[in-house]
Amino acid sequence: MSVEADVKTLIIDEQEVSARAGQTILQVARENDIYIPTLCHLDGLSDVGACRLCLIEIKGGNKLVPACVATVQEGMEVSTDTERLRKHRRTILELLFAERNHICSVCVSNGHCELQTLAQEQGVTHVRFPYRNPNLPVDASHERFTADHNRCILCTRCVRVCAEIEGAHVWDVMGRGINSMIITDLHEDWGASSCTRCGKCVQVCPTGALFDKSKIGSDHPKYPDFLPYLNLMREAQ
């Protein structure tokens, strides 16, 4: 196969761009400084297309597709910022807020939360859906960390980082649909699980669902940028 055959040319937001075959639309958009909002995606982890915030429109198809898992095709015309998409993104964010108990003012991630930042960026001024106010537990059994399921948005970043990077696969998801919950091991207390205490899940959690016990108030910036470097160093070895 020639090198030329691997290059695809496509249009994103009226801008002609070129990409390597097999790249996702999100990757190509970011390489060309075109912004697509994401929440479950994190550089360094596999993509699962769970949050649906990166939905884009492709000319000729009525279906919206997630940019993090859709690969580029020759000649495709992609729109990333239409009124229809903005409406869907706002609705998705509102549903995330309505689903569990997100009280920013007393959350450790206030001011550093990806959900909060996205809501502000996407112009969410209020939530139009009734809040479900579920009575969810806090797992404070771990020596160093706390899991507050009230703030979990089921992005599964913790599940992926634990399985793919740490190799421990302590975190997973139980239940279906609205009853889904992240769990440690076979639904044991985090403190009693096979957790290696590396803290990667805490660093990649986009909200205040997983946090350091010593952090209080809005005192908890997270640093997920280590992942691509970690991958790079491992590949170099």
């Binding site: 007393v106 806090v138 404070a140 403190g191 016990k213 209080i216 108030g217």
Partner: protein, 474 residues
């Protein structure tokens, strides 16, 4: 025919409340109540949360005195952790608490009470507000705004936010004080001294005119409770509680936070969501007591700062024993503002104030802890129980307004009996009844934090006062 006068809502208070005055067939006041009509539920919904979140959660009870809740809550958490906070952290918290006391008292005196005091109880209600004061007495209006700003600015400098600063945490504070911030606070002190001097002088000039109000504004013998140091000097953060009777004799001394629940009980009345605190050995209502600025100055033997000390001596000349009229809460508040400014200056000049060690850490070492502090309105008590992972199992908060509740109700009745004659009343008379409550500066948002224990009784009365139907939920 019996008649009920309802003042709803009572204005210029923090929170929502109402007053009802019941008249008998002859138009005389039969009974009067001050009702707190809202429920907050903080004790209940904190269950299941990690204990170290409590200061941040509890601060949300109130936007006026979040610092008091932060401090009492952090102290309860520190009892659970069994840690002693670094001395610099203790000094910084003391300064934060005093800054809040200054701004809260400035709010109470200038924004809420001064329209009655400076413009008159009968003044046009449309203009009887802080803007009216600013128009009639611009220099005092400015002093009030400036004193509030002084306190809020210190809170912002220390905690990076004016309302709900997240700086106070179990174990101390999150950040030490910088030299630049200390110097900035030192530069705003002279203006604060000038403003409180102005307010004290103005208050003393007009206070005599209010002798009729002084006589009937919750003016009766009662017990008083406040924090004091071992030497009997005034205290806001540490020390222990002292309870005195109406003659000034000590009933009980040295009540620490962990002994509080043994000494103080909470009674429930059907007409209010705020409980009624009382001293258990004396029972309810005999064991009721007053807290806050009046109680603190009645109990304190000294202020420990020179200018406030002089003012305390003058204040104590108002009566031979404890000062009994709640009207004098206003005067006591101004004395405390002066004390707060002086003490903040003392703290800033402490050689250790810029020390970097301001936080102690520990896990759960006890399953129960209590903390107490003086809020602007009086004693504030937080009591928590946790499981071995530090999750909250139970919380009880006793707020100053609950401790003043019986006295406020008695005061409303006393004033209503005095002013409402032959079933006749004017707006000015009803304003005086409200002003009794205002003298206590109650915080209703703070006081109605309980949920699910409130018996509620509804009585349906015929025009001649017979009970036709009665529904009781308990």
């Amino acid at each position: 025919m019996s008649q009920t006068i309802t003042i709803d809502p009572v204005t210029r208070l923090e929170g929502h409340g109402k007053i009802t005055i019941q008249l008998n067939g002859q138009g005389e006041v039969e009974d009067a109540h001050f009702h707190v009509t809202q429920v907050r539920g903080f004790e209940k919904f904190s269950e299941g949360r990690p204990y170290y979140e409590m200061p941040g959660l509890m601060a949300r009870i109130c936007g006026i005195c979040p610092v008091s809740h932060l401090i009492a809550s952090a102290k309860a958490c520190e009892a659970i952790m069994s840690v002693r906070i670094p001395p610099t952290a203790a000094l910084l918290r003391r300064m934060l608490n005093l800054a809040q006391m200054v701004q809260s008292h400035a709010l109470s005196f200038f924004y809420l009470a001064s329209p009655d005091l400076l413009l008159g109880m009968e003044f046009d209600p449309k203009l009887r507000n802080i803007l009216g004061v600013a128009a009639a007495k611009p220099e005092l209006g400015r002093a009030g705004v400036a004193l509030r700003r002084f306190g809020q600015h210190i809170i912002e400098l220390l905690g990076s936010k004016r309302v709900h600063p997240g700086w106070v945490v179990p174990g101390g504070v999150t950040e030490p004080l910088s030299g630049a911030k200390r110097d900035e606070i030192l530069t705003i002190l002279p203006e604060a001294y000038a403003n409180i001097g102005l307010a004290l002088a103005a208050y003393k000039q007009i206070a005599d005119r209010f002798q009729p109000e002084i006589d009937v504004f919750a003016n009766f013998p009662s017990n008083f409770m406040a924090l004091v140091n071992e030497d009997g000097s005034i205290e806001f953060n540490t020390g222990a509680l002292r309870l005195i009777d109406a003659q000034g004799a000590i009933i009980e001394d040295g009540i620490t936070a962990s002994q509080y629940a043994e000494a103080i009980g909470e009674a429930v009345e059907p007409y209010s969501y705020t409980k009624f605190a009382y001293y258990k050995p004396l029972g309810y209502p005999q064991g009721s007591y007053r807290v806050g600025p009046l109680a603190r100055l009645n109990i304190a033997k000294s202020m420990g700062t020179p200018r406030a000390e002089k003012e305390l001596v003058e204040f104590k000349q108002l009566a031979s024993g404890p000062v009994l009229s709640s009207f004098h809460y206003h005067h006591a508040r101004l004395v405390e503002i002066l004390y707060g400014i002086e003490k903040i200056e003392d703290i800033l000049n402490d050689p250790g104030i810029l020390d970097k060690q301001v936080r102690a850490t520990a896990g759960v070492n006890r399953l129960e802890g209590a903390g107490q502090a003086e809020a602007p309105r009086g004693v504030l008590h937080h009591h928590y129980k946790v499981d071995e992972n530090g999750k909250m199992l139970w919380a009880n908060l006793v707020i100053a307004t609950g401790q003043n509740n019986k006295a406020m109700n008695q005061g409303v009745l006393q004033a209503a009996r005095h002013y409402v004659k032959d079933g006749k009343f004017t707006e000015g008379i009803l304003n005086r009844v409200e002003a009794v409550v205002r003298a206590f500066d109650p915080c209703l948002s703070c006081s109605s934090h309980a949920f699910g224990q409130m018996p509620l009784a509804i009585s349906l009365l015929s025009s001649n006062g017979d009970v036709i139907d009665r529904v009781v939920r308990s």
